[in-house]
Symmetry: C2
């Protein structure tokens, strides 16, 4: 990604990517359409982002990236509620529809799947580690508690509800997942 | 669905639907292509199945329908392992790819989503009820234990792994989900 586009230019390009993903979806979004929407030259686009997955994931990092320090509410339950409420908020927003569209495109596109997984899923792991570490320090969880299942279950429950349109991603959903699934799973003896 | 197609004819049509879903996916599968593949007249197809979701879901019922009595292994853990192993087996088969394709198509097609949900998701609820009822009768779970979370979590974990290509749906996955997620969730006091 050298020479890097100027900051304002990158912003406009990333905005254009999100707009087009929302309007036409990943499969029908062309790099040329992004250039046109962002009033950038095609050369700028292809120099900065050689492939469509690169372009889409940079737009994601631009919007959602940066270090993600989960809220410290003072209790494990509070931290989990804050995390799940934030995840539901994104899933309920227009960005959530864009993400669902990308995930479905990714089932037919291994390169996109790998990039998406790295940027969206793995990048958030440290936040889950932080929540569990704090709970261990507070004495709420036993030493050696790990966050692997926490991340997987939380993501799975939100995805499942989104894909099946099973019901709203609201506070009652968050409470149910935290109290009846995440806490019992995390608190079980190793 | 009247007059009903003859049994052998229905079978050929349902087979054709599965073949075409695997080859071209839901969006690009036409009812006419199904007629051609099954060597049926278009009139037969449209008389029996007025819409594409009808046709696809009847093919699903034909293959996966019928009463589903879960295996009674004598223990809750055994029953859950049998259930999850069967779910992984389907997800790993070519039918699993067809299902993933239908689910992704369903995110853009509310009619398909509703039909798919009814046939694939809700139709299995009684099997989950049976497993929990047996465990209560054996004294493995407290009176009043319900199967709603069992169904949702199991489905969510399989879907999440399928969508993210996170790892194989194998015995080690099944063991982890049963021992570290489903059993702790089911055994928690009401």
């Amino acid at each position: 990604m050298s020479p890097a586009p100027k900051p304002g230019r990158r912003e406009a390009i990333c905005e254009a990517v999100f707009e087009l993903l929302g309007e036409v979806g990943y499969d029908r979004m062309s790099m040329d359409a992004v250039a046109a929407r962002a009033r950038a030259s095609k050369a700028t686009i292809y120099r900065g982002w050689p492939t469509k997955p690169d372009l889409v994931m940079d737009a994601f990092e631009h919007r959602f990236g940066g270090p993600f320090e989960p809220q410290d509410t003072g209790t494990l339950r509070g931290d989990l509620m804050a995390l799940l409420t934030a995840a539901c908020h994104v899933a309920n927003s227009p960005d959530g529809d864009v993400m669902t569209g990308l995930m479905t495109a990714a089932t037919r596109n291994p390169e996109l799947a790998e990039t998406f997984r790295r940027c969206v899923y793995e990048a958030k792991q440290s936040a889950y580690d932080t929540i569990v570490r704090r709970a261990v320090e507070r004495g709420e969880l036993p030493e050696g508690a790990t966050s692997d299942l926490l991340h997987e279950i939380l993501h799975a429950m939100v995805l499942n509800r989104t894909m099946w349109h099973e019901g709203p991603l609201d506070e009652s959903f968050a409470t149910r997942v935290v109290d009846r699934v995440l806490l019992p799973v995390l608190r079980q003896p190793a």
